[in-house]
Symmetry: C2
Subunit: 606 residues, 2 copies
């Protein structure tokens, strides 16, 4: 058995800050050397970050990152270093006509670039993801394209590095992230590397967390390894990275698998740490847990981590939240308070004549429980004056107009004003279902620097709320807030004391939104489910729910088309929505890319 000790560095990568990242890389190399490791491994794009948008086109940055590669090589005296960074070929162009860039894994030992017979000191990502938030094809030239250009099979370019460690020789195959998720591509880089002699696979990743992705990864790796029988190291970064509209959570969860595809050791999610292990010692094997409680815990931890890092990276220290007495603002306020500290959060209740004593009391109780600064700033006088000023200029208001005036008075006059006064930001409390169905007012409750719940359906908001109370071992979020009917309280029609609320049937519409957004279904397909009597099964609805809400097919279809229409048309609001933390399999923003087009209904189809 070969004796090789590796250090897998699960580090936080700060996008756009190569100065900070390279400093950390060098520290960790020195630490790994001190601990007698033979190999030290860093994640994909560890130097400059991964999601940095079109900054990839900045040649000055690319030159800086290439210099960093040399600097890291210089640090490899007495150890082998493997890391991810851009590798640029200044003699050639990419398909965008700019300097050609590769998403590369670099490898150096004793200050020398290692050679695999094809490349010296590096190899490239073969499979470039371009779905969801990923834009690899936009920025990087792939190994596939290089093979086409050289008119060779890509298999000829995927060679392991044969390296010496003490007296041992070992052939290491390097892959990057998507290379392991090969099933939709015409080549399997891992298998190719093993065929070409690799005895150990190291995959360096910058892989954002999504719901149950880690379990899926274990399955994928196991399937590959059962066929190829090599040890497999997965090194992922922690931190957050964004594309403006979405904030992605990098949970790390770096893992070392034995050649049977079993987990030998795994790093804690969102934790900066170094996994150190003697390879090929296959004893310690454990199973990953899988439960609904774990899902909620991961969701909660992800939100807390995302907020923490977002505030850190943007320098936000104080926040103001409109607390309405409803569940969304209660969860938002609780999350933000946990992250910023109670002395840095202000909860403001802004009643008009339509707000009930019930919700006002709940809002106050919540803020008392959270021990945050609480203010009541009424808006009715200002709203009345605005209505008067508009009407005296000949602009007549109707009920809907007056509802939105309230929302904007809260969002743009009070909350934005308070945020500016305290040098802080507004927290947006919208959930995903509201965002989808346009049940929000632009420049009103759509305001904010971040929307923590924008990728959570209403039922998930309740789940997180229950989880918060559970880990606090008390009713931090008062039970009245769980009991009240969801309502905007903007008119008599939304009187919660009479049990009146939003025009959304959450138990069904939550799932309908998921069908539109995540399953990519349109009304035609959903109506087919209805007609085939499989709708409750396909949409994972409570049995009998559809019959409860809709008397017949016509009613069902009318609501379906109406919701689709609103979903499509309200995109004009989402264009101007704040950043959303992505936690589902499809978040509004850069993850789900929309166009502002007309509505295309069932009858318009052929």
């Amino acid at each position: 058995m070969k004796k090789i000790r590796v250090a897998v560095v699960q580090m936080e990568v700060i996008p756009g800050r190569p100065d900070k990242n390279v400093k950390k890389i060098i520290e960790k190399i020195r630490e790994a050397k001190k601990n007698k490791n033979n190999i030290v491994i860093f994640p994909e794009m560890a130097a400059g970050g991964y999601l940095i948008g079109d900054e990839w086109e900045n040649e000055s940055l690319i030159r800086n990152l290439m210099e960093i590669n040399e600097k890291i090589r210089e640090e490899s005296e007495g150890i082998m270093v493997i890391w991810g960074n851009v590798w640029a070929d200044f003699e050639k162009v990419g398909e965008d006509g700019r300097v050609r860039k590769y998403n590369a894994a670099l490898i150096a030992q004793n200050k020398r670039w290692l050679d695999n017979g094809v490349f010296k000191g590096h190899t490239f990502k073969t499979l470039l993801p371009k779905y969801r938030e990923f834009d690899d094809e936009r920025y990087f030239y792939s190994m596939m394209k290089l093979a086409n250009e050289r008119k060779v099979n890509v298999e000829e370019l995927l060679k392991p590095f044969e390296v010496k460690i003490g007296d041992e020789k070992i052939k290491i195959g390097l892959t990057l992230c998507e290379d392991m998720w090969w099933e939709n591509y015409s080549v399997n880089p891992t298998e190719t590397l093993v065929k070409n002699g690799a005895e150990l696979i190291i995959n360096i990743s910058a892989s954002p967390w999504t719901w149950r992705k880690n379990n899926k990864r274990h399955e994928v790796v196991k399937k590959i390894l059962l066929k190829n029988l090599v040890d497999f190291i997965y090194c992922n970064n922690v931190g957050i990275q964004n594309n403006g509209k979405n904030i992605f959570l990098f949970d790390g969860s770096s893992t070392i698998y034995n050649s049977g595809g079993n987990l030998m050791v795994t790093a804690k999610p969102y934790n900066e740490e170094i996994l150190e292990i003697d390879l090929f010692d296959e004893k310690s094997v454990f199973e990953e847990e899988n439960s609904e409680e774990k899902d909620t815990r991961e969701l909660y931890n992800g939100l807390i981590y995302g907020l923490k890092k977002f505030f850190e990276q943007t320098g936000i220290k104080k926040a103001v939240i409109g607390v309405s007495g409803g569940i969304d603002s209660a969860v938002s306020a609780s999350l933000v308070t946990t992250v910023l500290g109670k002395e840095n959060v202000i909860g403001i209740n802004m009643p008009s004549v339509f707000n009930s004593g019930l919700t006002k009391k709940s809002a106050e109780k919540l803020c008392r429980n959270l021990e945050i600064n609480y203010k009541i700033i009424p808006i009715q006088e200002s709203v009345d004056r605005t209505i008067n000023q508009l009407e005296s200029n000949g602009f007549l208001t109707n009920e809907m107009v007056r509802e939105n005036i309230q929302a904007r008075d809260r969002g743009s006059r009070i909350l934005a004003g308070v945020a500016a006064c305290i040098g802080g930001v507004i927290i947006n409390n919208s959930n995903k279902t509201e965002m989808a169905l346009g049940y929000t007012t632009l420049y009103g409750d759509m305001n904010g620097a971040i929307c923590p719940l924008g990728d959570l359906y209403k039922w998930e908001v309740y789940e997180v709320a229950r989880y918060i109370n559970k880990i606090n071992q008390r009713e931090l979020i008062p039970k009245e807030i769980f009991g009240v009917v969801p309502s905007a309280e903007l008119s008599d029609k939304q009187d919660v004391t009479k049990g009146k609320g939003d025009p959304i049937l959450y138990p069904y519409h939550d799932k309908l939104v998921r069908a539109f957004v995540e399953f990519r279904k349109d009304p035609k397909e959903i109506l087919e489910w209805y007609d085939n009597n499989v709708i409750e099964k396909e949409m994972k609805l409570e049995e009998g729910l559809i019959r409860k809400y809709f008397k017949n097919r016509n009613e069902f279809r009318k609501d379906l088309e109406e919701k689709w229409r609103i979903y499509k048309l309200s995109y004009f609001k989402r264009i101007q929505a704040p950043p959303i933390i992505a936690v589902s399999r499809r978040a509004f923003g850069y993850d789900l890319r929309e166009s502002q087009n007309g509505v295309f209904l069932i009858d318009s189809q052929l």
Copy 2:
């Protein structure tokens, strides 16, 4: 000489409305038949549109578009029809794991799919653009990837269709859009097709207009044809298509080139029309004009067309504009009035104590000239009350806070209120330089359903203003508005009557923003220009301007880094900006993709 008569249909394609597009396609086929054409040609993605975002993932839509292909084939009795649409292979997946889709050119004659020995009735786009607004790799499988999968050279898949027209036989090579812009790729599809026998190339496109792109196209085609000596038909659509954040102008400008690469006939920009021509009759040759005046005319026409189509597609019929007496709102108001009609536009001046009589008078004069409804709605009282309400709750304001309260009072209280009352929208008046340098207030002057000038530098706003007065043969935009110093008039420091205005040196900062945004330069490179004494040349600045503004290198560098810092940090506002009509080589939004990261300054680099 072969006798072939072709009809090139420059049609408006409405994205997301296949029902409307297919109706038009069928009409035009019948018209072309009536006019004894042998071939009728439609643009790329003529059935469903091109920029429809992630709707491409909707399987129901794809099935509908495939049915449309059969429907169009059915119409080909007595004529050959060539059109662009998606072609799906339901047996295979794309690299995203979804149904495999190609961006295809389809070809049928006498109700039969034509065959080129490789494919029956279609061929695929070989080169997929993925820069700027383009996301072809996200949605479509390319001919390159298919060749890789089949393990053949792509040259073997690029075959012309040998077709019969009367007694004539001709080999037609079909390409799609980017296939002709081949220079950064490893294969030239046009040349390959000619090598494989093509005697005529038909390129169907969905190609958005950008500044001088048509002239560039003529050069690219000429270069290809001088080498390959075939006639070349370029069929592009008109209309607008968007990706939410950006609206792209499709100008058509369909052209038929003779085998020498000269223009034989070209369609009017933004005009729905059919070019009919007897091929291989090479007499009528003309030269395209090229001048600065043409640039401004094209810019103006593009903005008018973009607004017209945007309002049409979104059903917007009325608009409200804040008119400040400055140049941006004057140009915005003029454009929108031209499109919506004077009876549908309301100009509102919203003075606080800081607004001068000078600008108030200019605003009024402008609205009188435009003959639009004009209102003065003062905001001082409301602003004072807001300040009082905040301060009485313990939130102290400073000058900047009070400035922004004015802006939000205008945007979210008055303009949004008026827009709601009239069932219309707000027009956002920001220009590109302000957008870049964050010189706007979120939920204030950043509000709007569309931002017509968001991709114009300040100097372009003046150019368009002068052009508007020229075509109106009078001072529609009053000359005082050209004369006043650009100012937000939000405090004493911005008193235009004392010549005080924005903290932006437009003659230089306009170009600096262009260097950041379009040339993709960072402070390090710009400082190198300064040090090498080439900055005025590189940035196309007036000679002596830099010395005029900055006494020495330190002053220059301080301003440079400050502007870069603001440019990067103010992205948080652009995330929530309204849609912008893209007219430059790089527009904020989906065209230029940004991340909200920290600022990386010169000294942080290695």
